[in-house]
Structures are given as structure tokens and as C-alpha cells.
Amino acid sequence: MTTESTDLERRETPEAIVAVPVRHPWRWVAAAVLLVLAAMFVHGLVTNPAWQWDAVWKNFFSKEVLDGLLITIELTVLAMVIGVVLGIIVAVMRLSPNPILAGVAWLYAWFFRGTPVLVQIVFWSYLARLYQYLSLGIPFGPEFVYFDTNSLIPIFLGAVLGLGLNEAAYMSEIVRAGILSVDEGQTEAAEALGMKRGKILRRIVLPQAMRVIIPPTGNETISMLKTTSLVTVIAVSDLFTVTGQIASSNLQQVPMLVLASIWYLIFTSVLSIGQYYIEKRYSRGSLRTSRGNPFANLFGFGRAR
């Protein structure tokens, strides 16, 4: 079935098309209006003395603020680690053929998604008072080891547990959706090659699920960074608590709120950029790759390949 290419006349390529592109005058109008509004806003920010910018900059890199920032970042990282690891475990349990595992996983998500995270944080920090000591032993039987929970669960750990256990419930749903998004044929092909369940999950299904899991996980991380400010109610000295303390001593409430907001913005921006690169890494082998770094697009540096 060979075609006789010698019979086909070679045609010259015509000149490349040169055409006047469609004009979009309204885009320019909209851009101009927004630009003017933005300029007015910035002008107000800079010139209105009520913002007290000098107070913001004076405290911006102070030791208390930086220490608070570190606590905020530690809380975010630890809570997300617990959330992701436990979330994967709960998701896998939920999809397990064992009805008890699946049921326990369902209950977990039901409970931790059904109660406010603020309540959970306060709960964990009060745990020391609820249980004077934690005991290891047979329920209702003899006890072997005693822990003084006041030292076992210091307040910081309470905050991490409150945030992390809550996050795990949400992450489990994200991971479950990711796992379900992977074509069943993948598992079948791996099974037919003689791979076992755990290995199929780790090497075949989860890497493909990542494409679906990562974008919402990025959102969860960004959201977690801000949610950590709730620990102010149990007096963990995170960024928000610290700026509040400074404000109550120097009575510059608005500048301190602005200061905290700027730091939160800086770190959420960093996280968004990180998210972009991780997404790109996990889209290997897929057709739908993401469409360029939004920051790079906005500021005109770098191009999506």
C-alpha cells in the first residue's frame, strides 16, 4: 500500500500570512480606569498619616515579629505535614475493601470536618486539663505507664495537633478525589504485571493522582498559613499574637495589622510560586500542562514553554 510520492507534484509554500490583528479598544479603556483607581488608592496609602508607615517599618524586622513569624511558619509546616500524611492514610483507608477501615476513615472525616477548627485547637490545648494524665494500659484494666499530659502536650503541640488533625480530614477528601481520578486500567495493568496493592498505590496510582491533588493542596497550605492566626486564642506567640501584643503596648493597632498582613502576603506569594513549580513537575507525561507562572505573566518576565 505504498503511495507513489513521485507522482505528487511538490507545491511551493505560499508566503506567511500577514494580517492586521483585531483591535480591542475596550481593554485599553478598562485598563486605564483601573490604573487611575489604583494610583488613587496607593496615593492615599502613602500620604494619609493615619497609616503610620514609619511604625510599620520600625517594627517590621524586630526580633518579636521575626520570632512570631517563625512560629507561624513552623505551625504551618507541621500542621500541613500531619495533614498530608494522615490525609493520605485516611484516604487510602476510606478506599480499602475492609469495611472497618473504611468506616473508621469515614467517621474521622465526619468528625473533624463537622466541628470548627477553633474549637479543636482550644480542645487540644485543654487536653491537659481534661485528662490529668494519659495512661498506657488495657482499657478498664491495669495501667502500665503514666504520662503527665501537661508536659507531654505543651501548648504549641496542642496547636499543631488541632490544626493538623483538622487539615487531615480535608486532605483525605482531596487525596481520595485524586486517587479516584486515575483510570482503573492503570491498576489493572499493574496487577497483571504482578505488582502488589501497596506498591501499585505508591508507584502507579499516587504519582498520577498528584496532578489532581497538588493544586488544592497548595490552596490548603496558603489557607493554613492564615488559619494559624487562630492560635492567638490559646496564646501561642505566632505572628498575629505578637503583633497584637505590640499594638496593645504602643497603641498603634492599624499599623501592626498592616505589618502582619504584609508578612502574610509575602509568604502566601512565595507559596503560590512554589506551587506553580511543583505542579509543573507532576504534569510530566500529561497533555494538560499549566499555562505559565501567573506572576511571571503579570510582570512580563519569563515565558511559558
Partner: protein, 255 residues
């Protein structure tokens, strides 16, 4: 018993809930035999193939591969279910090729091929790669080892899938309509690879509608309909001289 047969099925039944899909299949496949299976859609061809490597559990009857019971261990007259890892171990010896290829899209071609040998059998990576290159050469894709599946045509993907199955050195290959998802001009390359495999002595069960392949390469031809084997014989005889009316009407549609 039946140690000299590669596959032996004895009154195999399979139900999905109320739906009875296989209604008593008896079949024997000798080592080195190429058996082609044809039949209308929904007749249970895929289900039977999947029973052979225990992707589906039998409801009743018995099935042996290379003299060993599939999915169970027999002690006295009692059957014991095999554990997951025992089932997995047996599957290593049976290669399967799917209609929709099912390559792992997050791995390049050579990683697809070495995945099972390195992860399941513990073959060292270097050695597995060497073998993978041989296999790629064998299926005519020596230059594609770094490509990702989506960068390949359907026919190329299916040939990689065949190489992936062969990398486990199976003693039996199952093909479930390996060419039905392909454009007509890509079918030939895949059939060529399968033909070479048959010539090299591989035992194969091939569900296919490629009657040319069945006639020229197949040692036997099975016609299934409604969960039973209606006709079984030498391909030339079944095609040229079908005994049953159902076979005749099916063949008149595909030939």
C-alpha cells in the same frame, strides 16, 4: 493433573450479581499453542481472559495455568483462597495486553518496561534496562526509549505494552483485542510483533476480530457466544466450514 497443558478450564462459571456471564467453559491450551477467541460483544471473552490471571474470581468450576490452580490452593478436597501476594506471584508468569494499552503515562517508555522487573522481581536496574532495550528492538521501537506514552501513536503504545509484558518473561500471553483501538494502518505493525512472538513459540490466547491473523497464525479458533463456547477447532475449518448457525451468522458479519 494436566501438567502438560498450559491452560485448562473445567466448567468455568462467572456471575456478576445476577448476571451470568460465563456459563460453563471447558478449554485446553497446549504449550506453544496460539488460540484465537472470537465472538460478539458481551459474549464473555474479556471476562474469561481476566479469569485466567485472576483479575476476576471464578464463581464455579476450576482453572489451571501450567498445572497450578488459579486463585486457590487445594488440600484434600478443600479449597483455600490464595493471599494477595501469592496471587501477585502467579500473575508475574502471565503477560496481559489490553485493548487500551494502559501504559503508565507518568513514566517514559523504558521506565514502563523495567517497572515490574525491578519492583516485583528485584532485577537490578542496569540489567533490566539492557533487557528492555532488546525488547524495544524486537518490537521495532529502539529509538523511543525516552519518549512518554502520549508522544507515541496507538500502534507504538501497544507495541511498548507488549514489550512491557514480555519483560517479565511470561510463559503465557493474553491479548484482549490488542488492535481494536487502532487506526487500520497501525494494526499491521502490532500483528507483526504478535506473529513473531508466536513463531518464537510463545503460548498465546488472543481475543481478536482480525480473521486474517486468526487464520494464518492461530493454531486453534474458539467462537464464544452467550457465555459458552459454541465452536472450537482448527481456524481454517471453523472459518471455511462453521458447523453452527450462530457461528455462520457471526462470521458472515466479520469476514
Amino acid at each position: 493433573m494436566s501438567a502438560d497443558l498450559m491452560v485448562k478450564a473445567e466448567n468455568v462459571h462467572k456471575h456478576f450479581g445476577r448476571l451470568e456471564v460465563l456459563k460453563g467453559i471447558d478449554l485446553e491450551v497446549a504449550p506453544g499453542e496460539v488460540m484465537c477467541v472470537i465472538g460478539p460483544s458481551g459474549s464473555g471473552k474479556s471476562t474469561f481472559l481476566r479469569c485466567i490471571n485472576h483479575l476476576e474470581k471464578l464463581t464455579a468450576g476450576k482453572l489451571w495455568v501450567d498445572g497450578e490452580l488459579v486463585g486457590y490452593r487445594q488440600k484434600g478436597d478443600k479449597l483455600y483462597e490464595l493471599r494477595d501476594d501469592e496471587v501477585a506471584r502467579k500473575r508475574r508468569e502471565i503477560g496481559m495486553v489490553f485493548q487500551r494499552f494502559n501504559l503508565f503515562p507518568h513514566m517514559c517508555v523504558i521506565d514502563n518496561i523495567i517497572e515490574a522487573p525491578t519492583q516485583v522481581k528485584g532485577v537490578p536496574k542496569g540489567q533490566a534496562r539492557e533487557r528492555a532495550r532488546e525488547l524495544l528492538d524486537q518490537v521495532g521501537l529502539a529509538d523511543k526509549e525516552r519518549a512518554y506514552p502520549r508522544e507515541l501513536s496507538g500502534g507504538q503504545q501497544q507495541r511498548v505494552a507488549i514489550a512491557r509484558a514480555l519483560a517479565m518473561d511470561p510463559k503465557l500471553m493474553l491479548f484482549d483485542e490488542p488492535t481494536s483501538a487502532l487506526d487500520p494502518e497501525l494494526v499491521g505493525d502490532v500483528l507483526e510483533v504478535m506473529r513473531n512472538l508466536a513463531t518464537a513459540g510463545m503460548t498465546m490466547i488472543v481475543v481478536t476480530h482480525e480473521m486474517g491473523f486468526a487464520r494464518e497464525v492461530g493454531d486453534s479458533l474458539v467462537f464464544m457466544d452467550g457465555g459458552v463456547i459454541v465452536e472450537h477447532g482448527a481456524p481454517k475449518d471453523v472459518i471455511a466450514n462453521p458447523q453452527h448457525e450462530r457461528t455462520q451468522s457471526f462470521l458472515s458479519k466479520v469476514l
